[in-house]
């Protein structure tokens, strides 16, 4: 494997558009960075901010949330809900010095395998340039208690 830093990105893909887009990308043998690890959710609207925080805290260098294009959501407008939530989350993360590129929202319809693949490549390069996130050292310690509290709220599976 190459010496360069290989970021790990957790992707939350909605079952109807972006997950199928990823399926299509594969079926079409479109090659893209293997750094994104997909988790299927029924709708991007299901992506709870705590999922994102959890992923970053557990060692991911970035998180991609992918859903249907606005207006094409299988659940009418779950993706719009996701969008609203996304902005709130970004503000939060900005305060903790988490770079913008690390958490991205992407629209990819079931027919847009290439769009998703390109998004993954782009994001991988951006984060490669940023380097590892090292949540525990950087975000956690520097900002002291701030995020810590929130993160403590983001429960470990067993605690739920």
């Amino acid at each position: 494997m190459s010496e360069q830093f290989e970021p790990v990105i957790v992707g939350f893909l909605c079952n109807w558009c972006s997950y199928r887009a990823a399926d299509l990308a594969g079926t079409a043998r479109i090659k893209y960075a293997p750094n994104m690890r997909p988790i299927r959710v029924m709708c991007s609207g299901r992506v709870d901010p705590q999922f994102v925080l959890k992923a970053l805290r557990e060692g991911a260098d970035g998180v991609m949330i992918a859903g249907c294009h606005p207006g094409e959501c299988h659940y009418v407008e779950g993706n719009i809900k996701a969008l609203r939530r996304f902005f709130l989350l970004k503000n939060l993360l900005k305060q903790w010095g988490v770079e913008d590129e690390r958490v991205q929202l992407v629209w990819a319809s079931a027919s847009e395998g290439n769009v998703l693949a390109q998004a993954v490549d782009r994001m991988t390069q951006q984060i490669r340039a940023l380097g590892p996130l090292r949540w525990k050292e950087s975000v956690w310690s520097e900002n002291g208690h701030g995020p810590a509290e929130i993160i403590e709220k983001a429960p470990v599976a067993e605690e739920v």
């Binding site: 830093f5 990308a25 690890r37 709708c43 959890k54 060692g59 260098d61 299988h74």
Partner: protein, 666 residues
Amino acid sequence: MSEERVGVYVCHCGTNIAGVVDVVEVARWAGEQPNVVCARDYKFMCSSLGQELIEEDIKQNGLTRIVVAACSPHMHEKTFRGATQRGGLNPYFFEMANIREHNSWATNDKEMATQKAKALVNAAVQRVVYHQPLEPLQVQINSNTLIVGGGIAGISAALELANAGYHVYLVEREPSIGGHMAQLDKTFPTLDCSACILTPKMVDVGQHPNITLWSWSEVENVSGYIGNFSVTVRKKARYVNEDLCTGCGICEEKCPRKVIDEVFEAGLSYRKAIYRPFPQAVPKYPVLDPANCTYFERGKCKACQILCPTGAIDFEQQDQLITVEVGNIILATGYDLFDARRIPQYGYGRLANVFSSLEFERMVNAAGPTGGKIVLRDGVTQPQSVAIIHCVGSRDKNYNEYCSKVCCMYSLKFAHLVHERLPEAEVFNFYIDMRTPGKGYEEFYHRLLHEGTHFIRGRVAEVTDAARLPGEEGKLIIQAEDTLIGRQRRIPVDMVILSAGIQARDDSKEIAHLFGLGCDFDGFFVERHPKLDPVATMTEGVMIAGACQGPKDIPDSVSQGAAAAARVASLISQGTVLMEPVRASINAELCSGCRICNNLCPYNAIVFHADRKVSEVITALCQGCGTCVAACPSAAITGAHFTNQQVLSEIEGILWDVRQPQAEPV
């Protein structure tokens, strides 16, 4: 640490996966993970042997949870849930890791692919231990069916279902059913007359006791889910009382107002303000078009009303909203013809004797504006030479990138009709590639070669009236490269026909949204599986047929219409259908009654009990998106099969190799 006993199965999928991912290593490694009691790799997990492997292990090793790392769950989740069930476990004690589409097919980096595969397997393992037993929901299927679009696809579907004894509501936007096929003269490659084979079917539809036909109508609203849709149809005011009208046609005859018929006659001829698009229209009742009616404009005339023998004209008539309950829906909304005005260099709309393919269809039609005579725009002169330009708006990234599939064949048909009607005329077909796959199609091409059509392999660069060389004056000059001789050629002709492509209806996106479907990039409806399920869609209970799914000729549209009907019939005869139990539920204990979820739900599936100050999910209406789950501030809502616990542990699992903060990512 839970005490579930997990079995992991890593599929080679021949070399599809094993060629990139070190499946043996993944299986070995998986065997060492907590809870995993057995891990195997196998050539083809989806084979009956592969499935038996699972069933055996459940019995032998007392497995309680199953993970299969193979293709996409959209491909084989059902298959392996079956195996899990046959092994004696609840089918939802299964989880799939997609290491083919999302991994081995998407990269060549074997090392990272293997690493990713481990992550995906581990995620599945850590998730599956928290799976809860679920029972699929069973819903009744209403035996009525809504069919949208009365073209040949919709007609075939309607007749199949009606003959099977099921009731059909057929909704057509235009005044008559028949669609584009009704506009055609001959059909390729057999050249039988379109009307002769279509109109009997139209009549059957009109008279069938099991078919309720609403023409001049559009679907306004759709709610519900498979088996139980509720559909609202707007029956636009016809200003004609259908109970009194005999379809005698006197109103049309006497109407003083002539307008260009942009729809049925493709703008090549006129209709009255009150009209039937064509004599064999079904239903027979005319439609009054208020936008062009003298009475509606100036408050006087009423010629139609005065002269109608049965007093059927009703200027007061209003739109009607009708709501019906149906179990299934078939969309057969057809296509639009590419608008050749978008390619200025072909001169359509600017150069009089450039015609669109639909204009020409009407012209050669015996019942059309010229009674089947092929003439120039002046209505009298017969062309001595005709150029037919293929791929207009098709196979072109500037317009539609796809091949429209039918143009080569109908262009050949045009060439034949010109030879037939004007034996003296020369015909030039300009093509990029001649595409004639289909029964008897290639033979038809050979027939045209025999008839002496000039075939020039070259996409036309421009059509101009700017004469340059002798013999070009007063002609339309086709400039193209004859790629087979590698030379630029200018061919003067009298008439040009643009073989415009097929494209999705301009409102297909809105229609798709109305019925909860996906549209592909070009606006065609997305089928459930491009090969194995071309009639069903991602939305249970909604089928698609005909050109709304992609360019199709008549035989294909008929087959798909019938196929869609068969799919519906089989659902109806099953009586009930099982649905994914992926639904939300609210724990009344934890619910604070904040009502945030109430407005979030796109299906109004959440009701608020003011008395108890708690919200509740109506399971039948919930579609399981989980938006409410994510939004609930007091974590009172659980999304079955996507619980926080399941997803959070999946996250932990997928990050197995980077979870130690000090460790550098690989």
